[in-house]
Subunit: 168 residues, 2 copies
């Protein structure tokens, strides 16, 4: 699993805390977590496509959550970022080599190995689908929301000051 | 997940069926599934190290199951082949950027995002640990064991024939 899931989930938390200030540009999210802005933007695109985030275009544009935190599951984020491909890929090696001699529809039923691996993956998906961004917000450190808001407000104020400030 | 898990699990099944003929050389297992022999041997090494397989050295050497099929879980095979590294890697991005301003031991508790991802991974591991090679044997096609045994015996017989057979 790439870093996109960690980035995506933490950005969802930050966007929930900054909801009243939204939309939040990708550059600001990148600053908040000290991430490469262009690459982060690329990693957020699939979340927009999946409706987890909404992207607002324009000079004052950016991102906001696409729906309420309790309606965004961890599975939504993981599936958007990592795709729907299963971790275990069955290539039907049972049908190769000695398998070409099989008769009587031996391979008509799906491979038991693939089935067993799929059951484990479904358990993983079920667990991810049972947890939401709201659950993550609930277990976040109590100081985090205000700290992120203060940081955002300070950096925003500083950025919009006239260029002569500080020169005197 | 690489192809090593699929290869490893199917080799365990074949070795269970060929237990009376064991040890089975890596080359034979490679033939049975039409896999590259050198690479397969490399992929089986961690299974030997983990005790899932036993390797017998020598000209008539090869592999056999390291313990009874009901005592080899899918987790044993996956952990041996893929290592114990978790799929989700937490890099603590919450502590970077705006995080450096955190006070009062805000990050003393483990990150909730990492915890949530770990819970899902534990569900996956639990499911893998609950299934054994014996379970896979039980759901294998009824014709498979005999087919694999016949293939092995025929190829073994052919290989040990004197070199003049067929020349006449």
């Amino acid at each position: 699993m790439g870093e996109g899931v960690e980035w995506g989930l933490h950005c969802c938390l930050a966007l929930a805390w900054l909801d009243e200030q939204a939309p939040i540009p990708a550059g600001r999210l990148a600053e908040i977590f000290e991430l490469p802005p262009v690459y982060l933007k690329k990693r957020l695109q699939p979340l927009v496509k999946a409706g987890v985030l909404v992207s607002v275009a324009g000079a004052r544009g950016g991102y906001r959550l696409g729906r309420a935190p309790e309606r965004i599951t961890l599975m939504d984020v993981v599936a958007a970022v990592e795709g729907a491909t299963e971790a275990f890929r069955c290539t039907e090696i049972r049908q190769r080599g000695a398998g070409v001699e099989a008769v009587g529809g031996e391979f008509a039923k799906p491979c038991g190995v693939a089935g067993a691996m799929r059951r484990a993956e479904l358990a993983w998906r079920r667990e991810l689908a049972a947890q939401t961004i709201a659950d993550l917000l609930a277990v976040s450190p109590p100081g985090a929301p205000d700290r992120i808001r203060r940081y955002h407000e300070r950096v925003s104020r500083w950025r919009t000051m006239p260029s002569w400030v500080g020169r005197e």
